[in-house]
Amino acid sequence: MYKILEKTPLNPTVTKMVICAPRVAKKAQAGQFIILRTDSEGERIPLTIADYDAEKGTVTIIFQIVGATTEKLNHMCEGDCLSDFVGPLGRATHTEGLKKVAVVGGGVGCAIAYPVAKKLHEMGAEVHVIAGFRNRELVILEDEFRRASSKLVLMTDDGSAGKKGLVTEALKELIESGEEYEQVITIGPLPMMKFVALLTKEYGIKTIASMNPIMIDGTGMCGGCRLSVGGKTVFACVDGPEFDAHQIDFDEAIERSSMYAPFERKAHEDACNLFKKEVE
């Protein structure tokens, strides 16, 4: 059993939890992920590691409430235990030798972008962060990003915080203004990453995207997380989750991500109704 030590809502739909998982914490690195189950009947869901503390034996996760499992997870409290928490899975982000990097995060993807930015910043690289959200209410980790970067550009769809517009517009502006990035790291919704990749391809800037497809075991056993990268099939769980964004077939990944969309919508509604009933 894995105890929830802290629970902090970051915005109405995104929650941060610190979990006691000493074995995972000891090995965790930026870019890797875990798989959890809330209870013994639960679904296995992958979540990228947002932070970790090997000495305290803790791993931080940040999740958006999108389906039944994240809804259930969000109803758990400090002191409750997750039935399963396995990791760290996948490969760590390659950060060695990077001098100047743009980290482009979107929505809850910023939670995953943060440890990467932090690690690069601690290594002494110049880090520019572009973080995009729908509106002010949904902005997360603003202070953390400010501390982990030399430049933070906040973008919102409606202009209620930072600048109005898309992350790609901000990135283009920075590149056009003469910023020379060795690499762009992008983490967020698939369509956002697709357009970041299309933009950086024009400028010939190496770009890494962190993928979060549907998976079960996270060890290469099910193959459900397969993606086409450079025309070859790869498994996100063991070969990734990070890949060369210019090689990823994003359209296929977008299609595959909707495999269970109707089921998930219904399961989420059922879970919400159940919790509503409990409250009544």
Partner: protein
């Protein structure tokens, strides 16, 4: 007087029409009367050829003699001397290619139904055992077993009985390996696997689930930091193969591993399961082994019309005979001498956001014929010219075999492996690393439960010798 009937006592089964809509066990098991009657068919012949056909050398005629006398618990004790998982093996061993293929009675008529008797005896024991075995005091020597499938369970069982302090590390949230994620409930009820595992725990075996050796902890850390004197790697062959044909990444194409894991481990067949599975109308399962039969029969139980698509003929199907018969009875259509060349999908030209975009609509196949024998001795299938046709399906399951998982290899320096990924080990499981042993599918590639169990047992005895000689 021996029973000279030429025919085996038939196995009582659930009616095919009824069972193809439920996940309850298909074979219902012998009654004591049937078991005694069947046991009397054994001639207790001098050469006991059946034993030579058993990978773990169960004393078959001895246990059958006890069954004939009605001493079922005595029969169990004889099997237990050689096998750790009789209730499992009685159900899933390919007996027709092992013990029963050597049976003298099989020369004229049916062989003795050894597998069915083994199952009867194990079920009798499980139903009549009221208490768990007592915990065995351990000798303080720690052994790590990686993977809780048949190889790991057999190895742990023998080691704990020899007095070792055994910990099994399992990557998934539940112990049992392929017995829980792969083989369906209707062929091997999970309560049987659970009982075997609870029995091991009662003896003192510790099980750490959610631990991916190679990620969460390495073999070196287990040995250097955590004090394990020996490690047994029984991680199986879990990496699914695909055909590398066009359309394989469409929505509705599964590896058999994924399809079966969703159903067996995650219980996606239940309406209250939190794990989704596609409820397909027409399913093609590509492959002809036991895993293909399992996937096909699961898909059937979820309500689909199901095809087995296999490139060789009916006689070449590698699956157990009983599984093929059961699949046919359940209405699964065998399209043998057929090979897929492409999977076709739906794409709405007018709507890029149509949720059906990227879903499977059909599979393009060619007909095959058998040519000259290939390296494996089997006749090689060759494509018939101009035989292309399309099979309308909305789901395709690839059951083409699996290869060993590279996670441990990539994190254990100087552990030698074959080019295809199998760990190099001798017949007693010794690998290229001192103190590290391996067995089962991780060494041989995908094989059977009983072979893995045998390898686990062989390694347990090698580990015992290794630790004793080291501590002399």
């Amino acid at each position: 007087m021996p029973n000279m009937s030429m025919k085996k006592n038939p196995m009582p089964t659930q009616d095919p029409v009824v069972r193809s809509a439920n996940f309850d066990e298909v074979a219902l098991g012998y009654t004591p009367e049937m078991a005694i009657d069947e046991a009397k068919r054994c001639l207790n012949c001098k050469h006991k050829p059946c034993i030579s056909g058993c990978p773990v050398k169960v004393h078959i005629p001895d246990f059958i003699a006890r069954v004939a006398e009605g001493d079922f618990e005595g029969a169990y004790q004889i099997i237990a001397l050689s096998s750790s998982l009789p209730a499992v093996c009685g159900r899933v061993c390919p007996q027709e290619r092992q013990c029963e293929s050597k049976c003298v009675r099989g020369v004229k008529g049916d062989s003795v139904a050894i597998g069915r008797l083994e199952r009867f005896v194990a079920d009798y024991h499980n139903a009549n055992t009221t208490k768990w075995p007592d915990k065995i005091e351990n000798n303080g020597h720690k052994v790590a077993v990686i993977g809780s499938g048949p190889a790991g369970l057999a190895c742990a069982s023998d080691l704990v009985k020899k007095g070792y302090d055994v910990t099994i590390f399992e990557a998934l949230h539940l112990a049992g390996g392929v017995l829980v994620y792969g083989i369906p409930e209707f062929r091997l009820p999970k309560s049987i696997v659970q009982m075997e595992i609870e029995g091991l725990k009662a003896l003192g075996v510790k099980i750490e689930t959610n631990t991916v050796v190679g990620k969460t902890v390495s073999v070196d850390e287990l040995m250097d930091d955590e004090g394990f004197e020996a490690v047994f790697i029984g991680t199986g062959a879990g990496l699914p193969k695909f055909m590398n044909i066009k359309g394989e990444n469409l929505k509705g194409v599964y590896s058999a591993n994924e399809f079966l894991t969703r159903i067996n481990l995650m219980k996606a067949y239940r309406n209250d399961s939190e794990t989704p599975i596609q409820r397909a109308k027409r399913v093609a399962v590509v492959g002809g082994g036991n895993v293909a039969m399992d996937a096909a029969r699961c898909a059937r139980r979820l309500g689909a019309e199901v095809y087995i698509v296999y490139r060789r003929g009916m006689d070449e199907l590698p699956a157990r005979k009983e599984e093929i018969e059961h699949a046919e009875e359940e209405g699964i259509v065998f399209k043998t001498l057929t090979n897929p060349i492409e999977i076709l999908g739906y794409h709405n030209p007018d709507n890029k956001r149509d949720p059906l975009n990227g879903t499977v609509t059909a599979m393009k196949c060619v007909e095959m014929e058998l040519g000259e024998p290939d390296a494996s001795g089997r006749r090689k299938p060759v494509e018939k010219p101009n035989s292309e046709f399309t099979l309308d399906v909305d789901c395709v399951i690839m059951a083409l075999g699996t290869s060993p998982n590279p996670l441990i290899k990539s994190t254990t320096p100087s552990l030698e492996t074959q080019a295809w990924g199998g760990i190099v080990a001798d017949e007693r499981g010794q690998t290229s690393r001192e103190g590290v042993f391996a067995g089962g599918d991780a060494v041989t590639g995908s094989a059977t439960v009983i072979l893995a169990m045998g390898a686990g047992k062989a390694s347990a005895s090698a580990i015992d010798e290794y630790i004793k000689s080291k501590n002399q």
